[in-house]
């Protein structure tokens, strides 16, 4: 069974739920999937389906890199850390000094994206700096 058949439900859902610029290809035995989901809900749904087909992602035959369209400069994003505060740093990198913190669940403003990993944000207390994008989700 080809990977595209194995993950047919995932690819079909991505298509039907309006993932933009959807692109996928099998490369070196791994199904690489890229695209932009219209909302965080759609992205989460895709990850749920992926997790159902490959529990705990043990097989490692997919790399699913889908970002969220609503996470654009000027939009509001929610801090989704496990339980700790999110560090806000002077520059994009963990070697940069911490200039502030955002609490779990706090809603902050996305100013710009330095890259896929580090986004420039502003808190409601007007603290401004970079934080790790993984812990932000569009509202």
């Amino acid at each position: 069974m080809s990977l595209q058949e194995k993950y047919k439900v995932l690819l079909d859902t991505a298509q039907s739920s309006g993932v933009n610029d959807l692109n996928y290809a099998e490369m070196d035995g791994v199904l690489q999937i890229r695209g932009t989901a219209p909302s965080a809900d759609v992205k989460n749904k895709l990850w749920e389906i992926y997790g159902n087909i490959d529990p705990n992602f043990q097989t490692g035959d997919v790399v699913l890199n889908v970002d969220v369209a609503t996470e654009v400069p000027g939009s509001q994003v929610r801090v989704i850390t496990e339980n700790s505060n999110l560090n806000i740093r002077k520059g994009p990198g963990t070697d940069q000094p911490i200039v502030g913190k955002a609490a779990k669940g706090e809603i902050i403003t996305l100013i710009s994206k330095a890259n896929d990993q580090w986004w420039l944000v502003r808190t409601t207390d007007n603290e401004e700096g970079y934080c790790y994008a993984q812990y932000l989700e569009s509202v």
């Binding site: 490369m27 992602f57 990993q117």
Partner: protein, 167 residues
């Protein structure tokens, strides 16, 4: 001899044509040319003129553009335009998705992985030939966060088979 006869015929025909064109404003062909000139650069739009009636066809990307082209045609043709039939179809531009890129620089990928893995002290990651391998023990709830973060780095593969999953 044949040639000169033909030339004469052409001259005569064009004289008649231009005469008739003068009489009732621009000829259809001239009007079409004028409107086409005004719409230079709009490769998806086609202009046809039939007895002063302008027919616009082809595709545009928005309703505003459709109306804009109609008004350009109207302005360009001025009083020679009897009517406009706007058959332009609005269709969203077809975006060509960006090609899939996979990280091929272990040093860059490794640095990004190390930064990300600071939040997962119970597991260790290594990078070789674009493949991220993770070993250690992790709660099941955190696995999706780990996988999402690593997939965002566009590796060739993420191997989590060395993780012992805690319920």
């Amino acid at each position: 001899m044949k040639f000169s006869k033909l030339t004469f015929c052409l001259l005569a025909t064009s004289a008649v044509l231009s005469f008739s064109a003068c009489k009732s404003g621009l000829s259809d062909d001239k009007l079409e040319e004028k409107i086409e000139n005004a719409l230079t650069g709009r490769k998806t739009v086609d202009v046809e003129v039939e007895k002063g009636k302008v027919i616009l066809s082809g595709t545009v990307t928005s309703e505003e553009e459709k109306q804009q082209i109609e008004s350009i045609a109207k302005t360009a043709g001025d009083k020679d335009v009897k009517s406009i039939q706007n058959d332009l179809v609005v269709s969203a531009p077809v975006a060509t998705p960006a090609p899939i890129t996979v990280s091929n620089n272990d040093a860059v990928l490794g640095a990004a992985v190390n930064t990300f893995m600071k939040d997962f002290p119970s597991v260790q990651a290594s990078v070789k030939d674009g493949v991220i391998s993770v070993t250690g023990t992790l709660e099941q709830a955190k696995i999706v966060t780990l996988k999402q973060g690593l997939d965002n780095l566009n590796p060739k593969k993420v191997d989590l088979s060395g993780i012992v999953v805690k319920k």
